[in-house]
């Protein structure tokens, strides 16, 4: 079980993915806080909505957000999977969720999630991280303070430095 960082602190985690390999389209759904892959969500949306108070979504980096745009308000948590930390698609997905789709729930990074990516991830809209197993979460908290005033407009600070420079 990996350690969860949320709101810049170590937090308890109740959310579980549904293993992608299992064919759950015709199986009974398990109990608990679940992160549903889009295909399962689309196939059993009504059942999931009626049965679960807390619903999560699991996105792979090639996810099509347009297909899910109208459903985003159902999700308390959206997990974006990083199969390799060097695969940067999840950064654009998080930013699109926040800026384009105005999603306000939790966006968490899962998978190959490491200390040195936390700073950039918080800038594009992530607010939770399931750190890779074996990594020191206490130490990783330092990463949030890496840069005090970065240049760009992003989710955490919509005004670029050049609009704040003399303020």
């Amino acid at each position: 079980m990996s350690t969860l960082i949320k709101n810049r602190a170590i937090a308890a985690d109740t959310w579980q993915p549904i293993a992608a390999a299992e064919d759950l389209h015709n199986q009974p759904l398990p109990e608990g806080d679940l992160l549903f892959p889009p295909a399962l969500w689309q196939a059993r949306k009504n059942e999931i909505i009626s049965r679960y108070k807390r619903i999560g979504l699991w996105l792979e980096p090639d996810a099509d957000l347009a297909e899910l745009a109208d459903d985003l308000h159902y999700f308390m948590v959206i997990a974006i999977h990083f199969p390799r930390f060097a695969d940067g698609r999840g950064y654009s997905l998080a930013r699109l969720l926040r800026e384009r789709h105005h999603y306000e729930g939790e966006i968490r990074a899962v998978g190959d999630v490491l200390h040195d990516q936390l700073f950039l991830m918080q800038r594009v809209g992530f607010d939770a991280w399931a750190l890779k197993e074996g990594k020191d979460a206490e130490k990783a908290l330092n990463a949030f303070a890496t840069f005090k005033a970065p240049y760009q407009s992003a989710v955490d600070e919509p005004l670029p430095l050049f609009r704040r420079r003399n303020a």
Binding site: G88, P150, Q152
Partner: protein, 569 residues
């Protein structure tokens, strides 16, 4: 040039602290080699053949004399007393220790230098014309917008882990000197009907394994929108660029796969959401940055060649230097001077600590304390009074910085190659030196006229061999080093890649092959034709016939060392 304020200083210093911590965590084993690799690359640190290599950014080519002295200090203190200018303006040190790199970067931060994003799959150093701001054919000085792009791209949170590296070049002149057609994004600055800067945006050019000339995706983009438009391009690329194959991961492959029309449509659709958002540039910011690039305190000098004519006549060596190393300047009475880093026997682009310090002194004495690096791997003093050229020439000559070969055959662009680089298939510096030795006669070189010869040690094409009139590419054939020759490539507004002449050559054969190519040109040229003119008129066949005359036509010579490998070509 641009000077850091407290914000800029804070960011590079925070970067040094971050990198120091990353190195420490790697040394303690908290970070694996694989995890550390992209982190060190994004800070310009490679693990090379003999030692690490640290690549320092020289943003859009500008160097103050203080920065040159600081680089000299780094070369003496932490390296072997020299550095190497790359084809993207940067300086590489080939022998630092990894554990010293945080200290090197802390030292350089004091003179507003860094190694941020000089490697890795992120937005790289923004390059431009080495004569920006002084070129006689300049429409707009691109440096303020290049600095704005530098800041925007530095630690861009969304685009730090792209499918592959991403290079942007920006040009504000009529004749392109920044290789804009062969970058991931090339930007041409022009003036719109209201006299405001606007961009032509070219996407999907590149050299490397698959050389492709870029395509225009947008004309007349008003300057205020450049950051949001680039974000739209990068977002389309970040989400859709291939990540399954390193060799198909550059944006040029995506543009080709989608077609430029569909690619442009997607960019425009993305941009519709970003346009006029907070990243839209303000006039206040443009003017703030532009104020850093104001004209230095030029004297009012007579127009024309008065200053030049006052120089000592009759000195043939000086006349040669004037003919090759002086570029026109937009201010009357001034000239832009190239200090050549192509002295015979030296690796092209290498410069010693003593030369750096002396060049810093020359910059202070002759050129308002500034210098530039060129993508042709020379050093430029951009603002020299014509009446002081003789004085400058004598000083440069004493420093071995006055080789009068700029634009000639021996002014080669050359990557570090197999002597240093882990990626290289073959050595390139010994080939450059062998060609320099073969063509050492200056009268002969001057008679040959404008001729670009570039050498890359592998398909990554750091030596820009594709766009040389004569390009030489190192290839590996069954663990032996061979060299493929291309003809007819060119830079500039008509930039295009050269054609392969035929089977490759062993290292020892390369100078002969080049000499034969030159011989064909000399035999066919019309008066006033440069090499490229003759090549365009007669085509590649006469060159092929001559170079392979002792072999069956178009076939490799049955050289014992080649026999077992040649069937493959």
């Amino acid at each position: 040039m641009y000077r850091y304020d407290n914000h800029d200083f804070a960011l590079v210093r925070e970067r040094v602290a971050q990198f120091r911590d990353q190195v420490a965590r790697w040394q303690s084993g908290e970070l694996t080699d694989e995890e550390f690799r992209p982190l060190r690359l994004q800070n310009g640190l490679y693990i090379q053949r003999h030692a690490p290599m640290l690549r320092i950014a020289v943003p859009y080519a500008m160097l103050s004399s203080a920065q040159l002295r600081a680089l000299a200090h780094v070369a003496r203190t932490w390296d072997k007393g020299y550095g190497h200018f790359t084809t993207r303006h940067n300086m590489q040190f080939n022998w630092p220790k990894i554990e010293d790199c945080p200290d090197i970067l802390a030292y350089l931060a004091n003179v507003e230098m860094h190694a941020i994003q000089t490697s890795g799959n992120c937005i790289r150093n923004i390059t431009t014309d080495q004569f920006a701001g002084v070129a006689a054919d300049e429409i707009i000085d691109p440096r303020p917008l290049a600095e704005i792009l530098r800041q925007w791209s530095t630690f861009h949170p969304e685009f730090a882990f792209l499918p592959r590296k991403f290079k942007i070049a920006i040009s504000g002149t009529r004749e392109d000197r920044a290789l804009t057609w062969f970058h991931d994004v090339g930007l041409h600055l022009n003036l719109d009907a209201e006299g405001e800067p606007s961009f032509r945006v070219i996407v999907g050019g590149g050299l490397g394994r698959t050389p492709i000339r870029g395509e225009v995706v947008r004309e007349n983009l008003p300057w205020q929108h450049i950051l949001t438009y680039l974000e739209a391009i990068l977002r389309v690329y970040n989400l859709q660029g291939r990540r399954d194959n390193l060799y198909k991961a550059r944006i040029k492959i995506l543009v080709q796969a989608l077609g430029v029309d569909e690619f442009s449509r997607q960019v425009e659709a993305e941009w519709a959401h970003l346009k006029d958002g907070p990243a839209t540039l303000t006039r206040e910011e443009y003017e703030r940055v532009r104020a850093h690039f104001g004209a230095p305190a030029y004297k009012t000098l007579p127009a024309g060649q008065a200053g030049l004519q006052a120089q000592p006549a009759g000195d043939k060596a000086f006349a040669r230097w004037l003919a090759r190393c002086i570029a026109p300047h937009k201010v009357p009475g001034y000239a832009a001077v190239t200090l050549s880093l192509k002295a015979p026997g030296q690796p092209p682009g290498d410069i010693t600590a003593a030369q750096m310090e002396a060049a810093a002194q020359l910059a202070d004495e002759f050129s308002f304390g500034e210098a530039r690096s060129s993508h042709e791997q020379n050093l430029i003093l951009a603002d020299v009074e014509q009446s002081r050229l003789y004085e400058l020439w004598q000083a440069a000559k004493a420093l071995n910085l006055a080789t009068p070969s700029v634009g000639l055959l021996t002014d080669m662009i050359c990557c570090p190659g197999g002597d240093f680089c882990d990626l290289a298939n073959a050595k390139s510096i010994p080939i450059a030196n062998a060609i320099q030795a073969r063509f050492s006669d200056l009268d002969y070189l001057f008679d040959l006229g404008e001729l670009d010869l570039n050498i890359s040690g592998c398909m990554n094409a750091c030596g820009h061999h594709h766009v040389a009139h004569i390009g030489i590419l190192g290839v590996d054939k069954n663990d032996a080093e061979f060299y493929q020759i291309t003809l007819g490539g060119r830079q500039g507004s008509q930039a295009r890649t050269g054609k392969v002449i035929g089977p490759s050559f062993a290292a020892a054969e390369v100078p002969d092959a080049v000499e034969k190519i030159i011989g064909v040109y000399l035999a066919h040229r019309h008066p006033d034709e440069v090499f490229l003119d003759t090549f365009d008129r007669i085509g590649i066949e006469p060159f092929k016939d001559k170079v392979y005359e002792s072999r069956a036509h178009g076939k490799a010579r049955p050289h014992p060392a080649e026999q077992r490998t040649e069937q493959r070509t």
